[in-house]
Amino acid sequence: MSFNLRHRPVIGPILVFLCLFLLRVGSVAATDKIVLLTSLDPDENRPPLHFKSWDINEKLEKRFYKYLKGMDVKLKPEVVHFSTAENLYTKLQDRDVKALIWVGHAGFYEGAGIAQNKTIIDYKGRDLKNLFQLVGPHLRYLGLVGCRGEFFLKEWQEKGWFTEAPHLITFGREVRTDARKGLRLAMKELKELYKKNPNLMKFPILKQHDNGKNKIHIYRTNHSSEKMDSIQIMQREKLVGFLPGSLENQEISLSIELSDHAVENKIISDSGYSALGKENPNLGRLEIQSDQGQWELFQTRTGQPIGVGKHIYRYKTIPRR
């Protein structure tokens, strides 16, 4: 076999281009991930009359791989058990994660009066539902396997949490859910989606918008010898930042949208623990710096923060000279 000399200069670049193209296609397929995050303590989630060796996490992982095998998908699977807010935060920020399934306890109740309970908790009992605000344009499929997960998803859609992810497809159930059945249905849904559209994971990824134009800088100081818990930094209901657990002091710069109404600028440091979840969650103390205003801790007259799992920093504008 011989090449015509006149064609050699043309074939060379084409071959190089083809090789690069194949490498690129291969690398994209290899790095796109499907992630299963479970947050269940096996000792507390074992059905009656079962041996101590019965482990819900093992069961879920086994089923996850089994269902995945039945699908013709080129996604790299990852499984994380005992997932915490840090894990969820990391995976939601990871642009290679195209499908994410969360399995954990959840409760969605609206009382007839003024009481409500809307929580998605990790195995330590920490509420991490607000982290789902981080769902970005790169995520194609989100399965929320927890009791009444569908109600959360509907509410988040209404609140506009997923506006940055127009191609997102979600799965949740409106009823109380068994962990294994919930996972099976979530995977079945994904399989159906793949059947209808084999190019499910090929979609245009839009650019994410900034949170706002006002810069603030937050210092977090540890006044204890214990490690500080991770905190979700909220501007009222909106998640604006996250700090992982740490023994050392921390700092973070954030862009937020300041409102003319002071109450809308409240900053909340939220560990996710309920009033009785942990004896003394260590949230550290925040010092929030900004040119526009200042924040003061909601505290007693003796300087004791009011709150257990969360601290509130109230906003005050700086009077102009």
């Binding site: 009481a115 009791c147 962990a179 309920s274 257990v308 601290h311």
Partner: protein, 173 residues
């Protein structure tokens, strides 16, 4: 600050239909029902409003104090083996979404509604502190009394409108 508390209590006294001084005790018993092997096919839940009135005799005569508490009560209906249900029921928050019925029943003014919604995070933080502090107290009645005391104490850090709204709502429920 004492004058604010006095104003608050006086205002609440006039605003409320009950003739007595109303101390609001709102506490939630946290119940972690996501327990190993406790496979519950169905859990019905109800909110129980408990109102207790105690009478005490003082030099100037009898006084009546009413404590109102909300408790989340859960009870299993069925028991099916083999399921690991992902239900979380250990918490309760006070919602800022006040329905028209609640506003009308509590006779809230627009200022009170605005203040209640604006300070909902602070109100829930106080609720957490109260729930945490009473959790170590033995005996339901003692807990209720302690909750009432704590709510009275902490309501001084809320605005008057928010504190009155809270008192009116809990008494109207």
């Amino acid at each position: 600050m004492k004058s604010i508390i006095s104003c608050l209590l006086i205002a609440a006294t006039f605003a409320l239909s009950t003739p007595s001084k109303a101390i609001v005790g709102l506490a939630t018993d946290s119940e972690e029902l996501a327990i190993a092997g406790l496979a519950l096919m169905d859990l019905s839940q109800i909110w129980v409003v408990e109102s207790r009135t105690t009478r005490r005799h003082h030099r100037r005569g009898w006084t009546r104090t009413t404590y109102v508490t909300y408790r989340l009560v859960t009870f299993p209906a069925f028991f099916i083996a083999g399921l690991v249900l992902l239900d979380e029921q250990g918490r309760a928050e006070i919602s800022a979404d006040l329905s028209e019925e609640v506003i009308a029943a509590a006779e809230l003014t627009s200022d009170e509604v605005t203040a209640f919604k604006a300070e909902i995070e602070e109100i829930n933080s106080i609720k957490d502190v109260v729930a945490s502090e009473i959790s170590s107290i033995e005996g339901e009645e003692q807990r209720i009394e302690a909750a009432g005391r704590l709510w009275t104490e902490y309501s001084s850090v809320l605005s008057q409108d928010a504190a009155i709204a809270l008192a009116k709502i809990t008494n109207a429920q």
